[in-house]
């Protein structure tokens, strides 16, 4: 198969994109929606305690930086709309916009709409259905003060609300990543705003499996690589959500783990047959990695012996 060179491909992609954007007639999207005019009169904080403590909220900071001298009520209006009638009616809730469910999340996406390379607030895997939306995990006024990003609870606990099966694996299998201490959480490996492909698993900037962000010693490149990045990835052998077997392997014994690929019963697949002196009925040869120590790749040994 003939491929475009990387430079030519990038040039074409960027030219198409730039041409598209240049020809667009749409006005520039504002950094944040313009606030509704609030008539002089009582401020939101006169009645609402949430408004009194809003000064430390990242929304207030961002709005304040973009609109010097802005009053608290103005930033309230960006999400809740003009509150004049609400105030005049003595606090009638039907005369103010409250944010719930999917329609509430649509308000969030008014500002948080720009997509990144692998994730999108607006069209990501968790975005804006009635069942799962921004407000399922974040709360503007009632977030957990011990959590960043206005989360209502710690990330792992939030994910477990729906992903009970994955949460159970971490809690109950003997060999699993340690999530309970907080140094790692579901969002260390998954992007909750990511696209649905590959379960929104994070990759490194260079496109490697996210595992090597921590496990850099198996990143390579190696003179003699094995599986990772070539014809498989870390999950070819390991189960990141937890395993019954040492090193979170897929199989109970090393011999099974290795032989399932290294068995040339059928032509056309990658993975050589071990030589016949490997008598796997003996413990010495059942433990393949005792000799083949460099299973993640070697700089020195074609047979991954060191």
């Amino acid at each position: 198969m003939k491929h475009l060179s990387p430079g030519a491909f990038a040039a074409v992609a960027l030219a198409v994109l730039t041409a598209g954007v240049a020809s667009a007639q749409a006005p520039s999207p504002p950094a944040s929606p313009a606030p509704a005019k609030v008539e002089a009169g009582p401020a939101c904080a006169d009645c609402h305690d949430e408004a009194k403590i809003f000064a430390g909220n990242p929304h207030m900071r961002a709005y304040g930086a973009a609109h010097k001298g802005a009053q608290g009520s103005e930033v309230c209006a960006t999400c809740h709309g003009d509150g004049t009638k609400h105030m005049e009616a003595g606090g009638d809730k039907t005369l103010i916009r409250t944010l719930h469910g999917r329609t509430g999340a649509e308000t969030c996406a008014t500002c948080h709409k720009q997509s990144a390379e692998r994730s999108s607030f607006k069209t990501g895997v968790h975005a804006s259905s009635e069942a799962v939306n921004c407000l399922s995990c974040h709360s503007i006024h009632k977030s957990n003060p011990k959590q960043a990003s206005l989360l209502v609870s710690e990330p792992t606990q939030l994910c477990a609300t729906c992903h009970q099966d994955a949460a159970s694996s971490f809690r109950t299998l003997p060999y699993a990543h340690r999530l309970k201490e907080g140094a790692l959480s579901c969002v260390s490996c998954h992007d909750p705003h990511g696209r649905s492909a590959k379960h929104a698993v994070k990759e490194t900037r260079a496109g490697e499996p996210g595992c090597v962000s921590c496990h850099s010693e198996v990143r390579g490149p190696f003179v003699y690589p094995h599986v990772n990045g070539v014809a498989g990835d870390c999950t070819s052998c390991h189960i990141p959500h937890g395993s019954s077997y040492p090193h979170q392997l897929q199989r109970a014994t090393i011999a099974s783990q290795c032989l399932e690929c290294h068995s040339t019963l059928a032509a056309g697949t990658l993975g050589s047959q071990p030589p016949s002196f490997h008598n796997i009925s003996l413990p010495r040869y059942k433990n393949c990695t005792t000799c083949h120590v460099a299973v993640h790749g070697s700089q020195r040994s074609p047979q991954l012996l060191k």
Partner: protein, 644 residues
């Protein structure tokens, strides 16, 4: 131990310093610090390999600036620091987020991991209690990102990441037709500097980032005391093989500049285009020296020998680039269409030169010969291209329903040209492979009247397998349903079904996985929460394999049959909170074991500023296969909470 003390000292000093600062500036501050006791019976190696919560001082949690605001600092308008589990590990973290709106935003994190492995069932050819490959290492990861002038037209970006892995271990070396246990000292330092800029000009915005990564690894290996006899208790060609000395040292240096460019623009209010280009070029050099003496045998050179001196140097170049474009079209309220294409291309070129001097050589019939030098001069290469097309439609505004459907196609082209030295047994180590995978996926959500249902499914088919364990078809379905009919009752259930197979003649593998959980949460009164869950996990896979020694064919079978019970309780009074849990998991599959876990935490706020926390937890692991790997660990913790 030294690292643990350092981490605890740093955390405590940081906490005290921050407390003073926080108090002076009226920034909220909250710390929980104390001591954890550990009582362990059974296998310490298993306990540390699985859990590794040790006895010692512990900063359980620290939070500074949790309301996100500051006062009195000219260069800060927000500061928050969150830390957890610093000290007696095994995984601690400290995160900082600070900034001044419109001026800068600084995000930094420090994470520490104690990595321990000494397993009974791994690298254990002699059936000893602990396997021959172990480690006891510390990993420290620091990540710092600074964004200047956030929100401006151009926002300069600076970043630094450091990942250190240090510590002793044991490993093995194959030499002279035997394996020998070695002591290992490994030092890995991986760091990356990044500089770039984000930009925003009308409807176009994006980011350019240039990074420089340097990876340096040094490894020293030497023969462990008493390990000279090797694993092979017999003789080779009537000669006893043994090692009297062994040392190996290697240094690996890898430099990787990475350039990434990402741009997005709004064609109209409802159409967004995204383009990306990433290029990463890694160049690695490795040198190593090995020397060994003993009574050894080499079949490749057909000699006995008494000494080996080996010098090696290698070079590997790996260039990866990725380019693509996406479109996101907001068709109408609640309906979005997205699609994209990305190409990933990677090449590896490896060159390896090894000079081996065999001294004290003799033929297998006993004739003394001169020293022998062999040269390995290898060159191999790999090229891989992957094209992925995807399109997805999401309709989320059908009242309580949300629907998503998508299709993607992945085309993989792989060419491997191994060096002849890599080919031990002909076949399976090189060639050209092309694989095409089609994926159809869909999801449905429903939320109304206290019901929540989310289902997702994907169906993959591939024309061929590259690895034997690759699928030719795979289905995955998952459903989660909850019902919150009353304010005091929530019922939930989850089901996961995965089926995959490879129909290739003489492979004919199949695998299934089933996972079911049911859970109930009851809050009869506001102060009391009760939780219970039951789960079932089953997995079966078979694939025929060939035994190397006699070419017989047999099925490699893996089975999991696990059953889970969970119970939890939460009780909250004005100043007192009690949380408890208990779980039991039993697996009767290929590897049988049972695992019991339980714990209670009592949290008492004595005053507005001080509180006391007591914790008790137990982990009991019963290994049916290797009974000596079982353990029971009880931990008791006493912590002081302080909010100045």
């Amino acid at each position: 131990m030294r690292t643990f003390r350092s981490a605890f000292l740093v955390a405590t000093l940081a906490a005290l310093g921050s407390a003073g600062l926080a108090r002076a500036q009226a920034i909220p501050f909250d710390i929980e610090v104390g001591y954890r006791f550990l009582t362990l019976s059974g296998s310490e190696e298993s306990y540390r390999s699985q859990i590794n919560e040790r006895e010692g001082f512990l900063v359980r949690s620290i939070h500074i600036g949790e309301d996100g605001k500051t006062s009195g600092f000219p260069i800060l308008d927000h500061l928050r620091i969150d830390g957890a589990e610093l000290g007696a590990g095994p995984a601690g973290s400290l995160r900082l987020d600070a900034g001044l709106a419109g001026a800068y935003r600084l995000r930094a994190s420090y994470r520490h991991f104690d990595q321990f492995s000494a397993l009974s069932g791994f690298a254990n050819p002699l059936g000893a209690v602990v396997g021959q490959q172990t480690w006891d290492r510390q990993r420290d990861v620091v990540d710092v990102n600074l964004e200047l002038l956030p929100g401006a037209v151009v926002t300069p970006l600076l970043g630094y990441t450091s990942n250190n892995l240090v510590g002793p271990g044991t490993s093995t070396a194959f030499l002279g037709q035997d394996e020998f246990r070695l002591g290992q000292d490994l030092k890995v330092h991986d760091q990356e500097f990044r500089v770039g800029a984000g930009f925003r000009a009308g409807p176009v915005s994006g980011e350019f980032l240039q990074g420089w990564r340097r990876y340096r690894e040094t490894e020293k290996l030497s023969l462990l005391s008493g390990a000279g006899a090797g694993n092979n208790t017999g003789t080779v060609l009537d000669k006893d093989v043994n090692l009297s000395s062994y040392s190996r040292s290697s240094v690996t240096d890898i430099n990787t500049p990475t350039t990434s460019f990402f741009v997005r623009g709004f064609l109209t209010d409802s159409v967004q285009l995204i383009g990306l280009y990433v290029k990463s070029s890694a160049g690695g050099d490795d040198t190593d020296t090995t020397s060994a003496t003993g009574s050894l045998v080499s079949f490749p050179v057909a000699r006995f020998f008494t000494g080996l001196t080996e010098n090696g140097s290698s070079r590997v170049d790996n260039t990866v680039w990725r380019a693509g474009a996406r479109v996101e079209w907001h068709v109408l309220q609640g309906v979005d269409v997205t699609g994209g294409f990305v190409r990933r291309h990677a090449t590896w070129d490896g060159r390896d030169l090894v000079s081996s001097l065999f001294s004290g050589t003799s033929t297998f019939t006993g004739f003394t010969l001169a020293d022998l030098t062999t040269i390995l001069n290898a060159k191999n290469s790999i090229e891989r291209t992957e094209d992925v097309y995807d399109v997805q439609v999401a309709a989320k505004a059908f009242g309580p329903f949300g629907i998503r459907a998508g299709y993607s196609q992945t085309q993989q082209d792989l060419t491997i040209s191994p060096d002849p030295s890599e080919i031990v047994v002909p076949g399976g180590q090189g060639g050209t492979f092309n694989r095409k995978i089609n994926r159809y996926e869909g999801a449905l959500t429903f939320a109304a009247g206290g019901f929540f249902i989310a289902g997702e499914a994907s169906w993959d088919d591939a024309n061929v397998a590259v690895l034997r364990t690759d699928f030719t078809s795979r289905n995955r379905e998952r459903v989660r349903a909850t019902w919150k009919g009353f304010s005091w009752l929530t019922l939930g259930a989850t089901g996961l079904w995965i089926d995959q197979k490879n129909d290739t003649i003489l492979i004919s593998s199949k695998g299934t996985s089933r996972q079911y959980t049911g859970d109930v949460t009851i809050t009869p009164v506001k102060m009391l929460r009760l939780h219970g869950a039951y789960g079932k996990m089953q997995a079966d896979s078979t694939i025929p394999v060939r035994a190397p020694q006699d070419f017989s064919v047999f099925d490699s079978v893996n089975k999991e049959d696990g059953e889970l019970y969970e119970a939890g309780l939460g009780l909250k009074f004005d100043k007192l909170a009690i949380d408890g849990f208990w779980t039991r998991f039993a697996n009767e599959g290929t590897y049988e074991y049972r695992l019991y876990r339980g714990g209670v935490r009592v949290d008492f706020d004595a005053t507005q500023h001080f509180g006391l926390v007591g914790e008790w937890s137990v982990d009991r692991y019963l290994d049916t296969q290797i009974s000596t790997a079982s353990f029971r660990a009880t931990r008791i913790g006493a912590y002081l909470k302080w909010r100045p």
